[in-house]
Symmetry: none
Subunit: 238 residues, 2 copies
């Protein structure tokens, strides 16, 4: 059923090289999936935000201006989750939350919604949401049918957004040798040199060679730097 759509989607995404094109992609997707609103919203590890969405610019401006992300149950609820969720299942019990939804509907949003939280390396977080004015039963049918597609799209889109935005940001780092990874991993876990040397069954002298070669490869100025870089670049898993 959805395979053709998905193939088209990937095809369209593969050519995107700017964030503006992602905006166009989201708008196209809205037609393909016959839905009123789609939103991709990314918050990277440094707090930088980016969104590609089909809400009215007025609503977006108002949202940003008044800092509604601090009230919005979708954002607040999804930040702690990592599986898709229907907006009905979120906590709307607070008065600010209900007022917010009232305003949102006035601004043209639908009453139904469905969001997919996405997480990338290094604390990156994004939300992909579908929104529509609909009755409960037909909305449930709609989401049941498309949730699989939407999850895939959300992830591909997030990958593309990160590729565009964050790609060449952090410079190239040479891969570490197995021993170098072992060394940095154990250091990151809190062992000192003597402990690491013992754990790896090598002399502390040898260990130092690994630390220094890792430092050299990463362009790090000391051990702390090297370990931090290895962690943030995903070279070691702690």
């Amino acid at each position: 059923m959805s395979l053709n759509k998905l193939v088209d989607m990937q095809e369209a995404l593969s050519h995107a090289t700017t964030l503006e094109e992602l905006q166009g992609f989201v708008e196209g997707l809205r037609d393909v999936y016959d839905i009123e609103n789609l939103v991709y919203h990314s918050v990277n590890a440094s707090g930088g935000q980016y969104a590609a969405l089909t809400y009215s610019p007025n609503w977006v401006d108002r949202y940003i201006e008044r800092g509604y992300e601090r009230v919005d149950p979708v954002v607040q609820g999804c930040y702690k989750r990592f599986t898709p969720i229907d907006w009905k299942a979120l906590d709307w019990s607070g008065k600010p939350a209900r007022d917010f939804m009232g305003e949102a509907v006035d601004a043209g949003l639908g009453n139904q919604g469905f969001s997919i939280p996405i997480r990338g390396p290094s604390g990156q977080f994004a939300l992909f949401s579908a929104n529509q004015k609909d009755k409960d039963d037909s909305w449930a049918k709609y989401t049941d049918e498309r949730v699989g597609d939407l999850i895939l799209i959300a992830h591909y889109m997030n990958e593309k957004a990160l590729e565009i935005e964050g790609g060449p940001a952090h410079g190239p780092v040479r891969a570490l040798s197995p021993r170098e990874k072992d060394t940095l991993t154990l250091l990151a876990l809190g062992h000192n040199r003597a402990g690491v040397a013992e754990a790896l069954n090598i002399s502390e002298n040898t260990l130092r060679v690994y630390i220094e070669s890792a430092r050299f490869k990463l362009g790090a100025s000391n051990t702390v730097h090297a370990v931090a870089m290895a962690v943030t670049h995903g070279l070691i898993v702690v």
Copy 2:
């Protein structure tokens, strides 16, 4: 097509309260989806690992004993990704990687595979993989048809695993004060104590208080450990 299966799956998962039951769930899933092997493997932020899988115990033991996670292109490749990927698209160019695959096939694994990386809050990372002995074209057809289901299952399973295991499991990490964050951030960027103290315009003595209080809060055994923990827990952004 897959809706009934998914409903059954969620139903089965909702009753799970122990990690052992997840193991049983994975085994059941293997039959439902007519695949040779399924693997759920989670690494939480504290380095704790948990797996529910259908590989032979011998292979699992061998994998752990020899630290194959450092060689396995599936683990290494997926850690940097966050969209599903076929194992063929991974980097198998190194000799250790090829040797590893040879051993894996000898141990009964199929030659084809497909993995879904999953990320949760606070650096939690998991992999959900499907594995089978198959030809390229029929495997491509299989994955195309089921990738949507598998992604959903992977996410629900990860949610359940974290719910069971996660809650109060990984020790509480107290929030860092602004000065402590500044300190660890600059240390992570490669400055030594003197440099950080100068950058923050405080004495090196004062700086030490921050390092030690941060270490204490994080339960870290030294500066390297504290910085690594702060990075992996997303307390600082490097």
